[in-house]
Amino acid sequence: MALLEDFSVGLFFWQLILFILLLFVLRKFAWKPILGAVEEREKSIEDSLASAEKARAEMERLQSNNERILAEARAERDTILKEAREIKDKMINDAKSEAGAQAEKIIANAKEQIQNEKMAAVTDLKNQVAEMSIEIAEMVLRRELDDKAKQGVLVKDQLDNFKLN
């Protein structure tokens, strides 16, 4: 058989030795550093992508946070404005009602005073009337001595005239 005849033991021997030698040398000086570098790079790319994704998510989160804060601020502003308006209204209302009350109080005071004054005036008047009555009575008493009938008429007229209102 030509195939077996052509088979060279020496070539086989050298091929095995050389190939195994090549395998070990390449493994140490080529494949390990190359595969290591490729893997390291792939890992770093993966990491970078992951961290970029993370940064993006963080950014999104921050943005939504900002929006939330903004919305909150807006809501707060609105409530503050509303409160201020309410306070203002309340203050006006309070002022109004207080002023009303004050006015009523003043009016009541005035009325009371007027009443008092009036009572004082009445009292004064009564006193004057009493004095006048006494004077009249004096005069009457003086005249009674003259005319008894006239005396009665006079008292009656006087009393009618001093009718209290």
Partner: protein, 365 residues
């Protein structure tokens, strides 16, 4: 995905075998006119060149002229082991004496039809009835042309990937030559190792897969140069490679692998007995097919290319010469593809075998 890949493989196998068949035809033809003396016709010259090229040689022939019989070549060291003695001399020594013998430590050796025989001082060759030499042959450990070329390929790979590795030392970004080689390394890793062996185990097979891929590819490619080197077309070379694949497979075989060979789980007991010898045979057939496929493909490619180059010289008409030149050109391009494909297939199948060895079946069949 898997089916597609197997379809592709089947196509490649069919392709491979058609080439191998082609090669044996060519081989049959050339045995017809093998004559060693007298005026040689151009056909005989071509056949001789062809045969000479396909066989290993003890010197590195660069170019020569048949008419004047001159050739430019450089000698290579001859190392012989004979009856417990080591003989060492340069191959140029064969041309120094009249009868082309070399005397070393009291023994005479003669180079005859690119093989070294032990002879007497006159260099007599004894023949059997079929005109084959019957002289004793020493074991030939010479640094032949193929061994020399293998060293060359090894050095080339070392230089190439050594400088690629150096590029990564400075920066993880591939630069220069690394930019070109990295996709190929990734190809072996991501398309050959990972899918066939599995994410968990692929790493420890990577050095072998990468080495065998680039070695075969480079050896195939250097065989396409006009230097006339034929490394992977030697069955001794492919046997060496296939044997390493075989041993790595067996040594990394897990329990499941051996169970599938000797006692196939999930089939009836009778079938297990039938399957056992088939599986055991399969253990050896797999690397055997690796050996034959690579050898036959590369040898066939060389035979075809050289034959049609020969046809350029045989045909007188310029049209025919041009046509065969075109054909040679076309087939050379196909050969470049084959050089890559064969490296790919060898590596792919090796990875497949490693994968079957380390596979762990957790499901029940």
């Amino acid at each position: 995905m898997q089916i597609k890949r197997f379809g592709f493989l089947a196509f490649l196998l069919a392709f491979s075998f058609s080439w191998a068949a082609n090669a044996s035809n060519q081989h049959g033809d050339e045995h017809g006119h093998h004559e060693e003396q007298g005026e040689k016709s151009i056909k005989e010259q071509i056949a001789e060149v062809k045969e000479h090229h396909l066989k290993d040689s003890h010197s590195f022939h660069l170019w020569g002229d048949h008419a004047s019989g001159t050739s430019v070549e450089f000698p290579l060291p001859v190392i012989l082991w004979d009856e417990g003695e080591l003989h060492f001399f340069m191959s140029s020594a064969f041309h120094h004496s009249e009868n082309q013998t070399v005397e070393s430590k009291g023994s005479y050796f003669r180079l005859y039809h690119s093989k070294i025989y032990k002879t007497d001082a006159e260099g007599t060759i004894h023949y059997d009835e079929e005109h084959h030499a019957t002289n004793a042959k020493p074991i030939d450990f010479s640094i032949t042309k193929t061994v020399f070329s293998t060293i060359l390929v090894g050095l080339l790979l070392l230089w190439l990937f050594g400088s690629v590795a150096k590029k990564y030392r400075k920066d993880l970004v591939p630069r220069g030559i690394a930019k070109f080689m990295e996709p190929l390394v990734i190809l072996v890793r991501d398309d050959i190792a990972k899918p066939n062996i599995g994410e968990k185990d692929y790493k420890r097979f990577m050095p072998y897969l990468l080495t065998v891929f680039f070695f075969i590819w480079m050896a195939n490619m250097i065989g396409q140069t006009p230097l006339g080197i034929n490394i992977t077309g030697n069955i001794a070379v492919t046997l060496g490679l296939a044997l390493i694949t075989f041993f790595i497979t067996q040594f990394s075989g897990r329990k499941d692998y051996w169970a599938h060979i000797f006692w196939m789980p999930g089939v009836p007991y009778v079938m297990r007995l039938v399957l056992m010898p088939i599986e055991i045979l399969g253990m050896f057939v797999k690397p055997f097919s690796l050996m034959i496929r690579l050898y036959a493909n590369i040898l066939a490619g060389h035979v075809v290319i050289m034959s049609i180059i020969g046809l350029i010289f045989i045909f007188g008409a310029w049209g025919a010469k041009g046509a065969f030149f075109g054909l040679t050109f076309f087939l050379s391009i196909i050969e470049l593809l084959v050089a890559f494909l064969q490296a790919y297939i060898f590596t792919m199948l090796s990875a497949l075998y490693f994968g079957s060895a380390v596979e762990v079946h957790d499901e029940h069949h």
